[in-house]
């Protein structure tokens, strides 16, 4: 297991290099020049040129990239073009907020989704099952920005139960977490249901019954652990979608997280900030995938990690 983790960590290096290269190239290709934007309207050509030289933008692209990577591995992602503060410092202020939001949403995705899925599977074709599946269908179909606005409208504006926007307290967290987690919860619920239904038809469940075990032990001990194997995969994939989703959710709820930071940086062509932000998000994603693989192995020892 230890060797596996080490190897997987080493494997992240080419992945991250690739991500940084792609982001770097895309930012080169998008129209708009950071130096012109930074210099402001009415700046002379000379000012822009000297600014470009100062930022190193007049050097060959490959040179710029290598320079960037060499600094990045030392934790130096450059300075924000907008605020002139180190990119890493800015990210570190925003990252905990996004992580909190992501974890709260994952919690909703996993806990709500799994409980709903198990209820659905154990009471197949009951009213509970049908209602859960209808809600799940809605959860998958509704775009998160619309859901977010509706939640704000009903629970914040009309019922005054939760704050409209911002971040900081537990009650700030609830609506954004639901908005971001709902789609995932719906997918996990459907996945858990189908996986559970498949598992309860297996021979070893019949063996467990023949042993005289109680129904809930059969479901939760013998069934769930097997049923979770495909569910973990989905949760892992959902985490990626979730990181992307933070961008929208943070915008809807005016939360100053990493997603919003990246969006703002893209708008202002704040190249180092975009690169740093995307790279950090990629690191999180890669490590989440690693965590999923390790969990996978825990739930299913038949998987040979080596």
């Amino acid at each position: 297991m230890f060797v596996f983790i080490i190897r997987r960590v080493l494997q992240t290096i080419p992945v991250l290099l690739g991500v940084s290269l792609v982001v770097f190239l895309i930012m080169q290709m998008v129209p708009g020049d950071p130096a012109t934007l930074l210099a402001g309207e009415g700046a002379t050509k000379e000012t822009i040129e000297s600014l470009r030289h100062e930022l190193g933008l007049d050097r060959p692209i490959l040179y710029q990239y290598v320079d960037y990577v060499l600094h990045a591995v030392q934790g130096d992602f450059g300075e924000s073009l907008r605020s002139s503060r180190p990119v890493l410092d800015e990210i570190m202020v925003r990252l905990p907020i996004t992580l909190e939001l992501a974890l709260a949403s994952i919690f909703i995705t996993v806990v709500l989704g799994m409980i709903a899925g198990i209820i659905s599977a154990t009471k197949q074709y009951s009213a509970a099952d049908i209602s859960i599946m209808i809600v799940a269908l809605l959860g998958i179909s509704l775009p998160s920005f619309w859901l977010g606005l509706m939640l704000i409208y009903f629970f914040s504006v009309n019922l005054h139960l939760f704050p409209v926007s911002g971040w900081g307290t537990f009650s700030h967290m609830i609506l954004p977490a639901i908005t971001l987690g709902a789609g995932g919860a719906a997918i996990v619920a459907r996945m858990t249901r189908s996986s559970m239904l498949e598992v309860v038809r297996q021979d070893y469940i019949r063996t467990a019954r023949a042993k005289g075990l109680k129904e809930y032990i059969i479901i939760y001990k013998h069934g769930l652990k097997n049923a979770l194997i495909p569910v973990i995969t989905v949760v892992g994939l959902q985490f990626g979608a979730l990181l992307g989703g933070t961008v929208l959710t943070e915008s809807v709820f005016a939360i100053n997280g990493l997603g919003r930071l990246i969006v703002d940086a893209i708008r202002t062509r704040d190249l180092p900030m975009v690169q740093g932000g995307v790279l950090i998000a990629s690191v999180i994603f890669v490590f989440m995938n690693l965590a999923v693989d390790v969990l996978y192995r825990y739930f299913n020892k038949r998987i040979d990690l080596n």
């Binding site: 021979d203 070893y204 023949a210 042993k211 005289g212 075990l213 109680k214 652990k225 097997n226 038949r302």
Partner: protein, 342 residues
């Protein structure tokens, strides 16, 4: 003769009917069967696929998936008490404790995510109320008993690390861990290769003697019946067609279906180019013939066979047959005076 000794009877099944209600109609998978099991004896239930053997065994423990299945009638007397009137809770205390079961597929019958030891210990903890450590030790003892080398190590392994034969040994250890009075073995050797088959049967026989367990052995292999069973019930299309001593069935089979089964066995003492087969196929469970279900395939069938179902009746001290040929009505129906060829 072991039959009709009520004091020794541990299990008595009377007119058991298990039906499946599906969109295609009602399938009478088990259609009114009766048999009994004495303490310590081995009863074989033979029949081809779809004859209702496995459904019978699952019905005994009330493990029929419902819906679509349902035990529609009859009684299952275990130590004089009808299992069909027991609550689910009472049934749980019987399953795996007083009546255990081994299944056909050792590959899929063990839970892939728990160790062999844990799966055995679980039953011990449940029924014998032992602590974790004692139950584990007992599970290891059981593994040793079923002939698994280095049981301490094997107990910690998961099913995928064990071979098919070993998994079936684990299943046997699990089934016998609580010293049940009845063991139902549903084709325990079908999925195993021949050398392992013999070992597993030998193991079941030995443990049966040690524990005094009565065994119901479900099989389609007549050789296994000969080797292991005291008595045998031959099933066809959800009914018992012949119920007799195991040895009797080889020397003096009565029912045309039993004879057909025996004739279809390859024989070492004869030069056979082709094996004899029973013509036709088993009738669809949704569309059973009105009369004897074997009549469409039977060389002796007369009009009476197609009109009414023959009862299972005693034709000797230890043999019961369900066939019109052995009834007084047969002589009347048999006008041609042709000699009965069995």
């Amino acid at each position: 003769m072991m039959m009709n000794q009520d004091a020794d009877k541990i299990l008595e099944v009377k007119n058991l009917q298990t039906h499946f209600f599906t969109d295609e109609g009602t399938s009478k998978a088990v259609n009114g069967i009766s048999f009994s099991l004495n303490k310590g004896e081995t009863l074989g239930i033979v029949g081809e696929s779809g004859s209702g053997k496995s459904i019978t065994s699952l019905s005994l423990l009330r493990l029929i998936p419902s819906p679509p299945g349902k035990i529609a009638g009859g009684s299952i007397l275990f130590k004089g008490e009808d299992l069909l009137t027991k609550s689910e809770k009472q049934m749980r205390s019987i399953r795996g404790n007083e009546i255990s079961m081994i299944f056909q597929e050792p590959m899929t019958s063990l839970n892939p995510v728990y160790s062999a030891g844990e799966q055995i210990a679980e039953a011990i903890r449940l029924h014998q109320k032992l602590g974790k450590k004692e139950a584990w030790d007992k599970a290891v003892d059981m593994l040793r008993l079923v002939g698994i080398p280095s049981p301490e190590k094997r107990a910690k392994q998961e099913p995928h690390e064990l071979s098919g034969g070993m998994r079936q040994r684990v299943m046997i250890a699990m089934a016998l861990a609580c010293h049940p009075e009845v063991l139902i073995a549903d084709e325990p050797t079908t999925a195993l290769d021949v050398t392992i088959q013999a070992q597993i049967l030998e193991l079941i026989k030995t443990l049966q003697k040690d524990f005094g367990t009565a065994v119901i052995l479900i099989t389609h292999d007549l050789g296994v019946v000969y080797e292991t069973c005291d008595r045998v019930a031959v099933m066809y299309a959800g009914k018992i067609v012949e119920y007799t001593l195991a040895k009797e069935i080889f020397t003096n089979p009565k029912h045309p279906y039993t004879i057909g089964l025996l004739n279809s066995l390859p024989r070492l003492d004869m030069d056979q180019v082709e094996l004899t087969t029973i013509p036709g196929t088993v009738p669809s469970p949704y569309n059973m013939p009105k009369g004897c279900s074997f009549a469409p395939r039977c060389a002796h069938a007369k009009s009476i066979c197609e009109q009414a179902v023959p009862d299972l009746q005693a034709i000797g001290p230890s043999t019961e047959v369900s066939c019109w040929m052995f009834t007084p009505q047969w002589e009347k129906a048999y006008e041609a005076q042709e000699k009965v060829g069995i």
